[in-house]
Amino acid sequence: MESLFDLSLINSTLRMMAPLLLAGLGGAICSRVGVFNVGLDGLMLMGAFLGIAANAYTNNVWLAILIAIIGTTIFSALYGYMMIDLQANMIVTGIAMNFLSIGMTTFALRTIFDVQGAYYNNEMQGLPVWEIPVIDSIPLVGNLLSGQSPIVYLGIVCTILMYIFFKKSVAGSHFDAVGINPTAAKSQGIKVRRIQYLAVLISGILCALAGAQLSLGQVTMFSENMTAGRGFIALVATMLGQSNPIGVFLSSGLFGFTEAISIRLQGLNVPTNFTLMLPYVITILAMFIFKDKNQLSALKNSAGSSR
């Protein structure tokens, strides 16, 4: 059992949770404005693919991430247009966007790179590992926190920024107002449509980063449907975290931890299926206890346009 829990487990938890955290924050900002974002998985996949594709052409990992962000944001704009302007059912649209993303990335993978299954190139540079100067020199903590890809740190920064945004800023309370009651918000002169678009676009950016962490941070390759449902786990993290940035951080941390530990448990005699099941079971149990008002109203919106 000694090998199961050691300090490097925290390190790998941080690495595993980063994509969940970023996409989960994207889900949270949507849910705060009354949009139930089922398309996180598709957005992430798009980000992961564009990151690798752009990297293959430009040979510059930073430019690749920028292109991934731009491309995924355009993709999320289509998603937003369907939901906000065309009033299409949010869940159906989200599922369709996921299908579209799988279809487009797989299609592009085969037509552009002419490979089936996975694309990688040994000469391709992934994201660098950052050693944080001050923290690195602190004995124990340095080992725990330092040596991650920049996107991991960015995830933590985004959590704090979003927390401040919703807690302190006027714009943040406008976002909340739209989520709680769009009609009332509109009567107060808040531009509901613009704010909902903004939230969907921001979630596009965050999901692009989450996808880039998968394809450029953890490994340097793209494989068909490589998110493998992580977008849905991120959605679950949003729900469990009650659309609160700190809550999303904690719940994605929990899921990152279960993912990290399930890799280790493979060496022992515990069926991995059960450890993989944990996030979903925990979320169902948590829903008995917590009732997320934002999520409920977002869901109400989605159900309202369902028929």
């Binding site: 369907m82 302007d85 065309l86 009033q87 299409a88 059912n89 869940i91 159906v92 649209t93 599922i95 369709a96 966007m97 299908f99 579209l100 799988i102 279809g103 487009m104 797989t106 299609f107 085969r110 037509t111 089936q116 449902g229 849905f232 679950v236 729900m239 069926p271 299926n273 059960f274 993989l276 099941m277 979903y280 079971v281 979320t283 169902i284 829903m287 008995f288 009732k291 999520q295 409920l296 869901l299 989605s302 159900a303 346009s305 369902s306 028929r307």
Partner: protein, 350 residues
């Protein structure tokens, strides 16, 4: 006359969606540098080209039809059952385990194992309904989460206690179903089995229930207007539970017949990876939850799948073309509310 008109508008949208979907497909084909005519020709051949491909398409449609009917039934009552995948897998794995555990083979074995699969799947769906009713746990979220739990749990069952250990390594799977307990093929040498007959009969039965029975009327009322339905004395709780139970049982049946008619065992991932349940959900949505319509659309979507496999065999266009076309179709269809919305706004403007 008026009825004819509403029927016409009902059909225009899906047909337009199909055209747009194929247009986007055309663009994708052009991007990949193949001839559009040749590709669509190959797609047609792969789906309906000869008896073998035609029966293959119909076979693929079986689980999609059944899962779609299940989803459509719940939709009609106003409940979004996103859990068809989990229910399908639960039904399949139960059937696969029961059929090889029973001491006798033949028709009775078949019936018992299918009914058991349907029951487990129905209860799985019922459970989500119960959580919504009792604890206000949103059905959308719970059914979605239960999918993962079902797929992982079934994966555990076939990789540990019920694994076929005779073949070492490879994908986890259960022991082969006995020859006598398999669903017979409709035509010898072809993949199509009696599950197709079951699916078609059920589609007609459900259409009948919806149209002609009191229960069907209650379900429809509940789906259209909860308050009116309750005012009219319809028991929301009871109708919800029954419709979710039926919905889950149909999805479970989809898995059961696929096991007994096609794979002859439960293979991990063989039912969740082709996304039968999600395709069924699309079929139900495209057909506006009409049972007969769902069946037709399911066959169409299955044809896109099998057709694109033909495309991949004979051209350089990858089979993910069907995924793109399907997604565009569903996006276009789901935007339908907006057209009515726009029309209304125009009227108000005048």
């Amino acid at each position: 006359m008026n009825k004819l008109k509403t029927n016409a508008t009902l059909f225009i949208q899906p047909i337009l969606a199909v055209i747009v979907g194929l247009l986007v497909g055309t663009i994708a084909i052009m991007l990949s540098g193949e001839s559009v005519a040749v590709t669509y020709q190959e797609m047609w051949k792969g789906a309906f080209g000869n008896l073998y491909f035609l029966t293959n398409t119909l076979e693929r449609a079986i689980p999609i039809i059944l899962a779609g009917l299940g989803v459509a039934f719940a939709f009609r009552a106003g409940f979004f059952n996103l859990g068809a995948e989990g229910q399908l897998v639960m039904g399949a794995v139960t059937t696969a385990i029961i059929t090889v555990s029973l001491p006798f083979q033949g028709l009775l074995n078949m019936i018992i194992s299918i009914v058991a699969g349907m029951l487990i799947a129905g209860l799985y769906s019922f459970f989500a309904g119960w959580m919504e009713q009792r604890f206000q746990i949103n059905l959308l979220i719970s059914t979605l989460l239960l999918n993962y739990i079902a797929v992982l749990f079934a994966g555990y069952l076939v990789s540990e206690p019920f694994r076929d250990t005779s073949s070492a390594g490879g994908v986890p799977q259960t022991v082969m179903v006995d020859q006598a307990s398999r669903l017979p093929k409709l035509i010898t040498g072809m993949n199509l089995h009696y599950g197709f007959v079951i699916a078609i009969i059920l589609a007609i039965v459900i259409a009948f229930i919806m149209k002609r029975t009191t229960f069907g009327y209650e379900v429809k009322m509940l789906g259209q207007n909860v308050f009116f339905a309750q005012y009219g004395g319809i028991n929301r709780k009871k109708t919800m539970f029954i419709s979710l139970l039926i919905s889950g049982m149909l999805a479970g049946l989809a898995g059961s017949v696929e096991v007994l008619g096609m794979h002859y065992r439960f293979i991990e991932g063989a039912l969740s990876n082709p996304q039968f349940a999600w395709t069924g959900l699309m079929a139900a949505l495209l057909a506006n939850s009409n049972p007969v319509g769902t069946t037709i659309v399911a066959i169409f979507l299955a044809a896109l799948d099998t057709g694109s496999l033909g495309v991949e065999r004979n051209t350089d266009v990858p089979n993910s073309i069907s995924g793109i076309i399907q997604a565009v179709l569903i996006l276009f269809i789901s935007a339908k509310f907006s057209f009515e919305f726009l029309k209304q706004r125009k009227k108000e403007g005048k």
